[in-house]
């Protein structure tokens, strides 16, 4: 893998993983808030 490919793969993968972590944390927190409010 070349330097350019490595730069693109690392950047896009990291952003995708962080975005996915945000979505998962958001869903968990929504579920927790609903559970606590009952």
């Amino acid at each position: 893998m070349g330097y350019v490919d490595a730069g693109y793969v690392i950047s896009l993968t990291t952003l995708a993983v962080y975005a996915a972590s945000l979505v998962i944390r958001l869903r968990r927190e929504r579920a927790r808030t609903k559970g606590a409010g009952r």
Binding site: Y3, V4, G7, I10, S11, L12, L15, L22, L26, T33
Partner: protein, 239 residues
């Protein structure tokens, strides 16, 4: 209207990043001097733009608005915290892509150059900000501490920007935002570069909105749990 924009932001930003990658890797020509390495220009400066100016600029403005008594609101504290967390991710990626570009261009992965060092320092300062948020304290006390820390860290932003002007560095000078405001890049390369700035800025906006909602839900959850604990404690006292 707001709901539609909200739903569109994610897909639009992903599509723009995909177009940037396609143009950057397959359509734009190689550089006369750098060859294919120039393709890193379509991600590295955009990541740096978001980290330095958009994320930490937003954190500084929101912190200032929190500290100003007339505009004090926890909304600004949450916005600043969200911008810093996302900004740290972009700063780390800026350093990684810069290092990947530096190895074949300068012959080293890292050097204690003014631009690189001041950017790394900025990342460390904002990681410190995130650590400060984890220190247990009353919400308003924590917000005030963090706002002061963010303003202190933001002093490094102009130092990073002007580092290539003030000191002799390995890092090249500004291509677009140079002191004369005369961009030294043109044609399809310039348009792809511009698109990368727009695409990654939209990704940042989407991430900050999601992170802000997460922070709001957490605080609401803590309030509900506290209210429930108080009710349980009172009922214990009655029985």
């Amino acid at each position: 209207m707001r709901h539609t924009l909200d739903k569109l932001l994610g897909p639009v930003s992903v599509a723009l990043v995909a177009i940037t990658v396609w143009l950057g890797l397959f359509v734009t020509p190689p550089d006369a001097q750098q060859g294919d390495l120039v393709r890193l220009v379509y991600i590295h400066p955009a990541l740096a733009w978001v980290a330095l100016y958009v994320a930490f600029g937003m954190a500084a403005v929101c912190s200032l608005l929190y500290l100003w008594p007339r505009t004090r609101s926890m909304v600004f504290d949450r916005l600043a915290a969200s911008a810093v967390e996302v900004g740290v991710v972009f700063t780390v990626l800026t350093l990684i892509t810069g290092s990947i570009w530096g190895r074949p261009t300068w012959g080293v992965w890292w050097t204690w150059d003014a631009r690189l060092t001041s950017t790394a320092l900025l990342g460390v300062l904002f990681i410190g900000y995130l650590a400060l948020r984890r220190v247990p304290a009353e919400p308003h006390i924590r917000a005030r501490r963090c706002a002061v820390a963010a303003l202190f860290a933001a002093v490094d932003v102009p130092i990073v920007h002007f580092s290539v002007v003030w000191w002799q560095t390995l890092h090249q000078g500004a291509t677009v935002l140079n002191p004369n405001l005369t961009p030294t890049i043109h044609g399809l390369m310039a348009w792809t570069l511009l698109l990368s700035f727009v695409a990654f800025t939209l990704v940042f906006v989407w991430m900050v909105i999601a992170r802000y909602r997460l922070e709001t839900l957490r605080e609401e959850g803590e309030d509900v749990e506290l209210a429930e604990a108080l009710v349980a404690r009172r009922s214990e006292g009655v029985s």
